[in-house]
Assembly symmetry: C2
Homo-oligomer: 356 residues x 2
């Protein structure tokens, strides 16, 4: 098969981990006789520096013209003091919106061989296999108004948490579809005892749930969910939640695996290309040092193969290679225990490729 | 000294844990020659059942006329399907607002003797001593509009995250004052890369911080904070954050201590009586069974003595007794390891009193 991929390396460690992931893609192309064509485009801080906007129109066009988008990371202290519309993050939020990527899938799988690098006890994380489905194009991230207003001597600042019923419906369906092919359990996370939007969220969950009688549905308040993820993460299969809650819970959940450096994500929409990115950030402190863990980006490539290209076998080959590399004891700095040998980004990438 | 305390047992395990806490207060009164006068009032589900409102006016009046308020918990499945304004939680939110309790202090102290009942590794939680300062009377919990609107065929539901600059200033000052008498480090938690309100939050933190040059200030994004609490909780001293983020992070942080059943809270305002409550909920599943852990409520009483009555020595006596009881190996069900003897609510209370 031939596929067109738009590559957005972004900032910080973005370019390094992307390079690793593309080498893995090339290995897959070779082995399975595919052709992947890469178009590079700019997003985030580098786009601000070179094009004066975090999301140039040609980046949007390139993404729309492709079969899948691979993104590294955006942001860094260099751009932290710019006004809101000129922040690197605006590029990321913008492309999510432009491509209508309303469903962000964040699988959390605890690798047995990494249990020691988690701060949680082995028996707690052993066998964890959950998927956070985060709504990605609405809620507090996009609601209007978002503004500052003078009020007498005081300033009032406002953000808006808005959801359309139809937006909740489509993410909920996505969650149920995933639960159906996984372990048939869906936990809808909300704050229905306080928020009106959460009450609608819960109503829609119940309604959509009727179409999936084979999936067990339960509801959990977000504060409780933040606790239960640490208390007993094995109780979860698919968790569906709104944008901001999902942002918080998925970073928290990354600790179950020992490192943010392990976790991939897929953002998919209603038919257009999906976007794949590691959930770790741009890690400016280690950027350019060939130290970053490329596994989250490599695992994101596997998700692209699976969800956008329908290449389940190829995706499996990558996931399998990652597991074997970890079992063989290879570690980057973020997942190494004291005294263990530490591989560079390129060395870790090479190990994965060897096993494909 | 003579003090008037309004007691709001509330729902579920509320009455049981309150009873334990009052017995401890009586023991303190005896030993230190104080007089505590209790006025009982209704809040939450029981108030809905008996007075048709989750927060009767006489409850508000009683609270305002007292020196401190002690609350058990509110809520339960019985009232979960009532409309928003008739929910038990509305009583809790209402009393916070009526008493202008803008600062919610949630100390998280890992008891060495409980390390085994945490799902985190001992070395991670050993010596944790942090305080989450949560803004409690604004943000998403109270912002207007909060409503449903028809929009063509669709429904739009809105909640509003609004902050006044002055509201951020006063909670920030509270945080810095606490940091000053603790370990002189303040972490301001926000989502400044996305929310306008968080940008103002960060600006105010920096500005107020100038008045506290002896306190080290840093800023952390809420998603990262959710992760760092699990990755390395010892890095924190005082964390200051807005209402919803504080709700999520403090429940998460409770897992550092092994059980939600251990954590007290104080909600204080600008001069009136403070409100003290355990952060665990009403736990309807174990209500009325004399199984609940009373220690969080007993520790909340200690906070009342310290913050509202200026009785530092008495507060210390309680905290000390709690530590000793735990060190002696006494456990309620929530903190017991398999095979350990489990005390009832009343037995655990008696153990604490013995040591005062
Ligand atoms: C960079 C930031 C805007 C982004 C978000 O909050 O969505 C990130 O934290 C993520 O989770 O992808
Ligand atoms: C019961 C609920 C409204 C409340 C809150 O969200 O504030 C509770 O979770 C808390 O943290 O005190």
């Amino acid at each position: 098969m031939k596929k067109k991929i738009t590559v957005l390396p972004g900032d910080g460690i973005g370019p390094e981990v992307i390079q690793g992931a593309l080498q893995v893609l090339d290995a897959i192309a070779n082995k399975y006789n595919h052709e992947f064509e890469y178009t590079y485009a700019k997003i985030g801080g580098i786009a601000i520096d070179e094009c004066d906007t975090p999301l140039p129109q040609e980046t949007i066009d390139a993404c729309k013209a492709s079969d899948g988008v691979l993104l590294g990371a955006v942001g860094g202290p260099k751009w932290d003091t710019l006004p809101g519309h000129m922040r690197p993050e605006k590029g990321l939020l913008g492309i999510r919106k432009e491509l209508d990527l309303f469903a962000n899938l964040r699988p959390v799988t605890a690798h047995d061989s990494l249990a020691d690098s988690s701060t949680l006890k082995r028996e707690v994380i052993d066998g964890v296999d959950l998927m956070i489905v985060r709504e990605l194009t609405s809620g507090l991230y996009f609601g209007e108004p978002r503004e500052r207003r003078e009020e007498g001597d005081d300033l009032v600042v406002v953000d808006t948490l808005a959801y359309k019923r139809s937006e909740i419906e489509r993410i909920m369906k996505q969650g149920f579809e995933l639960a159906r092919v996984r372990n048939k359990k869906l936990t809808s996370v909300d704050k229905a005892n306080v928020l009106e939007s959460s009450r609608v969220w819960r109503e829609v969950a119940i309604e959509v749930g009727k179409e999936y009688p084979d999936v067990e549905l339960d509801h959990m308040l977000v504060d409780n969910a933040a606790m239960q993820l640490i208390r007993n993460p094995k109780q979860f299969d698919v968790m569906v939640t709104e944008n901001m809650f999902g942002d918080i819970l998925s970073d928290e959940a990354s600790m179950l695996t020992g490192s943010l450096g392990m976790l991939p994500s897929a953002s998919i929409g209603s038919g257009g290309p999906g976007l794949y990115e590691p959930i770790h950030g741009s890690a400016p402190d280690i950027a350019g040092q060939n130290k970053a863990n490329p596994l989250a980006t490599i695992a994101s490539v596997a998700m692209m193969l699976k969800y956008s290209f329908g290449m389940a076998e190829e995706a499996n080959a990558i996931d399998q290679a990652i597991s074997e590399v970890l079992e063989a004891g290879f570690r980057t700095g973020d997942i190494a225990n004291p005294g263990e040998e530490v591989l560079s980004t390129t060395e870790m990438t090479a190990k994965v490729i060897e096993l494909i």
